[in-house]
Symmetry: C2
């Protein structure tokens, strides 16, 4: 019986919400203040603040205090979790394709 648990700091959960992905996209353009990040969206500023918290907990984003502002920047290291999962998946899939190809090759020329 596999038991599966979920962590608040889960990267997959963090990138599941479209608004959070938009925030990451903005941050890919460089450091931004909380206000700059909140401005483009229809939701309230506290909502964005809470989304930023999720990204922080997931380790995707770092915070730097600068006077009365807080500047956020991307920390893309933890995205490797996603890339690795994706890569292992594609590797497995490729193996299966090869197996299928070999099988078909065997059928073609008996």
């Amino acid at each position: 019986m596999k038991t599966v648990q979920r962590a608040t700091e889960d990267v997959f959960t963090a990138i599941a919400h479209p608004l959070r992905r938009e925030l990451l996209n903005l941050l890919a353009g460089g450091e931004h203040t909380a206000g700059q990040l909140a401005a483009p969206f229809a939701v309230t500023r506290p909502a964005v603040s809470q989304h930023l918290r999720v990204l922080l907990d997931a380790g995707l984003v770092r915070e730097r205090r600068d006077g009365r502002e807080r500047r956020y920047r991307l920390d893309p290291d933890r995205l490797t979790v996603v890339r690795d999962w994706l890569a292992s998946h594609e590797r497995l899939w490729r193996l299966r394709l090869h197996a299928l190809g070999d099988y078909l090759d065997g059928q073609e020329q008996p």
Copy 2:
């Protein structure tokens, strides 16, 4: 004001749940029946069935009826959504690293 909406068939949401990722991992090993997919987990069979539905809606998995069984297989095409998002992200980040590198190069040798 950017408005952001969420779709049930969202791939990112589908892969957010660890159990669903486990299911995809199993399916990467080839076609499985619903029962085979449910067996390894601590949750009930209907729960797994509902997770499979989410994966179906996201287009990550296909269903084939075979007698009284249903066989599921991976359809990895839609994973490109994730890979593309990741790739564009890494591209942007690489640009930023280059920009930073150029800046530092400029500083080193004034």
